[in-house]
């Protein structure tokens, strides 16, 4: 069974997923960060594949992408670094990135490598659902890789149903109209949107991401969905305090509170 399904079967709420960029803050950090996150009690990790033009990301993740590229990170190296990861880590791992580097790596090759390495899903924000269905769904299915799709406050009910229909694992619910980046608490508009989505009967669970920065906003996200995704706040931590097991452990504990 795909580890994402297993997670959502065993756990219905307070799911914590943490994002960071591969090759940041240094080129050898990646596997260690995954392991520490898992040991600290994160339920899932999202590893960013750095890209020169991350158009859905705010300043913090843009910078981590730039640093990672300067450090020489690429998809090929990432798969090598993750080769042994399944000997040590059992939580679901998702790769997140943009379409062009994956296309150049080769989609089929990419899916095959994901499957060999024990990657459970991918998030490619600039791969539209329609193109996914027409060109890639068969390949993803063949290798057992889940393509996680996004919904946003602008997605209407019909669109959300369409996305739910082709989604597997979970739906990534973008919290507000904006790019990634840590923000404060939720506005009235956001709460109305969360409520609107909650009332739609979906076959997939939702996780809320974008703008979740700490204990309070995570708790807020958990009120309206199965859990939350933290990105920029964690990348900031890595930049400021490094990636020792202690630092990561304290961070995860502070989120869960």
């Amino acid at each position: 069974m795909n580890r994402i399904d297993k997670l959502f079967r065993e756990k219905k709420e307070h799911i914590l997923s943490v994002y960071f960029t591969a090759g940041f803050p240094d080129i050898v950090a990646t596997a260690g960060i995954v392991k520490s996150l898992s040991e600290a009690g994160a339920d899932m990790v999202e590893i960013g594949m750095p890209f020169s033009d991350p158009m859905a990301d705010g300043p913090v993740i843009q910078k981590s992408n730039e640093t990672a590229l300067r450090n020489g990170m690429n998809i090929k190296k990432l798969f090598v670094q993750l080769q042994e990861i399944r000997n040590e880590v059992d939580i679901p791992i998702i790769l997140m990135g943009y379409l062009n580097p994956v296309m150049q790596f080769g989609f089929e090759n990419f899916c095959m490598k994901c499957s060999e390495t024990g990657i459970d899903g991918v998030i490619l924000p600039d791969l539209p659902p329609q193109v996914y269905i027409e060109e890639f769904q068969g390949m993803f299915d063949r290798y057992g890789i889940y393509n996680i799709l996004l919904i946003s406050p602008q997605s209407d009910e019909k669109r959300i149903h369409e996305i739910d229909y082709i989604s597997r694992g979970f739906i990534y619910m973008v919290s507000s109209s904006g790019v990634t980046g840590a923000k404060g608490s939720c506005s009235q508009d956001q709460i109305a949107y969360f409520d609107r989505v909650r009332k739609i009967k979906l076959k997939n669970p939702c996780l809320i991401g974008f703008g979740i920065s700490g204990h309070d906003s995570f708790a807020e996200a958990c009120k309206y969905s199965s859990g939350g995704i933290i990105g920029s706040a964690f990348v900031n931590l890595l930049r400021e305090k490094g990636y020792s097991a202690d630092v990561i452990n304290q961070f995860v504990k502070s989120i869960r509170g």
């Binding site: 020169s52 843009q62 998809i75 379409l99 062009n100 296309m103 790596f105 600039d126 602008q154 669109r159």
Partner: protein, 404 residues
């Protein structure tokens, strides 16, 4: 039409709309409405009235006698440089501002490299009283000061972009982020035939006025509406596709797009996308782009700020692949030389971008009677500092030859 966009937004394998879900409602709204608006009588009459009385169209088609003699053929210049604001960019911004109004948008965003599209956008925003935000890389702001000042005088908010290399590509990412963050009241005026569907088709249709006029102007002046060649420079490809549009299915007319080779196509400092690039995804479109082996988009180089884009409009990728259009390229130095040649022979100072199209003439052998139309996409005022620098180095070289 064989070379038009299909109903899914593709030109063969190129095009499409590779956008994050957060942008979907905006792009979908435009996809669903642009043809209806473009074909509506009130749009057509307002657009044509503005093109005539505000932009100054039709732009002249000028027979250039001395340049013709120099190249031993018949050269006609399509004078987009005489448009209000000094380039073809205004054809597109006038059309898009009318669309934005009809979609009820209150705020306009745009990206500019050389500043020509920024000025053209700020101009129509002033005209219509809409708020205007222009994203521009910090590096470009420094090297295009006169246009930055014009935009500010026109009331635009010019936002310096400090991410990445601080040029056009990074400013484009920033404007996409703005649109994601302002999903209901904002229209994004893209300045070339690039980006997600429907932009390449929308911009093409708005710029197609260039070849529409060319047809009847040629008929009047030569007795035939078909020339032997049409030559235009290609950055994203809007003046070129507008110049080609009404001739695409007429295979007797040779169409030539000229890319910027920068310091030379094998130097790494180039913007000749079709020579050095390969298919991928850039800014929402599947097209040919300059990238490294990992699929990271690389920074282009050209002396001309309007041509140094790492991608090219998807229609051009398709026209290149099918062989319908011939694509050449021209170096910085060849372009500079061509700019001086036109200036000295015809008294017309072209934009550096347009000088690339003119320089291609020197690399081709024509038959004596060939009718060649070159689109002069813009005027050279913005490029005076590059021209003066070139003039000074050339003069000092000539002096040193003289003394030997």
């Amino acid at each position: 039409m064989k070379y038009s966009v299909d109903d899914r937004g593709y030109y063969g394998e190129f095009g499409g709309a590779f956008i994050p879900e957060m942008m979907y409602p905006n792009v979908k709204e435009l996809q669903d409405n642009y043809l209806r608006i473009l074909n509506s009588p009130d749009f057509i009459s307002e657009f044509h009235s503005l093109l005539k009385h505000y932009v100054g169209r039709p732009s002249p088609l000028y027979f250039a006698p001395r340049l013709s003699e120099f190249h031993n053929t018949k050269i006609y210049l399509k004078r987009e440089d005489l448009n209000h604001t000094g380039a073809h960019k205004i054809n597109n911004t006038v059309g898009q501002i009318l669309i934005a109004q009809r979609l009820g948008k209150k705020r306009i965003i745009a990206v500019t490299g050389a500043g020509q599209h920024g000025v053209a956008t700020a101009t129509v925003c002033a005209l219509m009283g809409l708020k205007c935000v222009v994203y521009m890389g910090e590096t470009d702001i420094a090297r295009q000061e006169p246009n930055v000042l014009r935009m500010k005088m026109l009331g635009a908010d010019v936002v310096p972009v400090v991410s990445g290399n601080r040029t056009l590509k990074d400013a484009t990412n920033e404007s996409i982020r703005d649109w994601i963050s302002n999903p209901s009241d904002t229209h994004y005026i893209i300045g070339s035939a690039v980006g997600p569907h429907p932009y390449p088709d929308l911009v093409t249709r708005l710029q197609s006025v260039i070849s529409e006029e060319m047809r009847y102007q040629l008929l009047e002046q030569t007795g035939k509406s078909d020339p032997d060649y049409i030559v235009a420079c290609v950055g994203g490809g809007s003046n070129a596709i507008g110049s080609f549009y009404h001739y695409l299915n007429n295979e007797n007319v040779k169409l030539v797009g000229v890319e910027a080779a920068g310091k030379g196509i094998s130097t790494g400092e180039t913007a000749a996308t079709l020579v050095t690039g390969r298919p991928g995804i850039i800014h929402g479109s599947r097209t040919i782009l300059m990238q490294d082996e990992d699929g990271q988009i690389t920074e282009p180089y050209s002396i001309s700020a309007g041509l140094d884009y790492p991608g090219i409009g998807p229609a051009h990728s398709f026209l290149h692949k099918t062989g319908r259009v011939i694509y050449g390229n021209v170096t910085d130095d060849e372009a500079l030389e061509a700019a001086f040649l036109l200036t000295r022979l015809e008294g017309i100072v072209p934009a550096l971008e347009s000088a690339h199209a003119l320089a291609w003439l020197g690399k081709t052998r024509f038959r004596t009677g060939d009718v060649v139309v070159v689109t002069v996409s813009g005027r050279g005022d913005k490029d005076m500092s590059a021209y003066i620098k070139y003039m000074n180095t050339r003069d000092s070289e000539e002096n040193s030859y003289g003394s030997k």
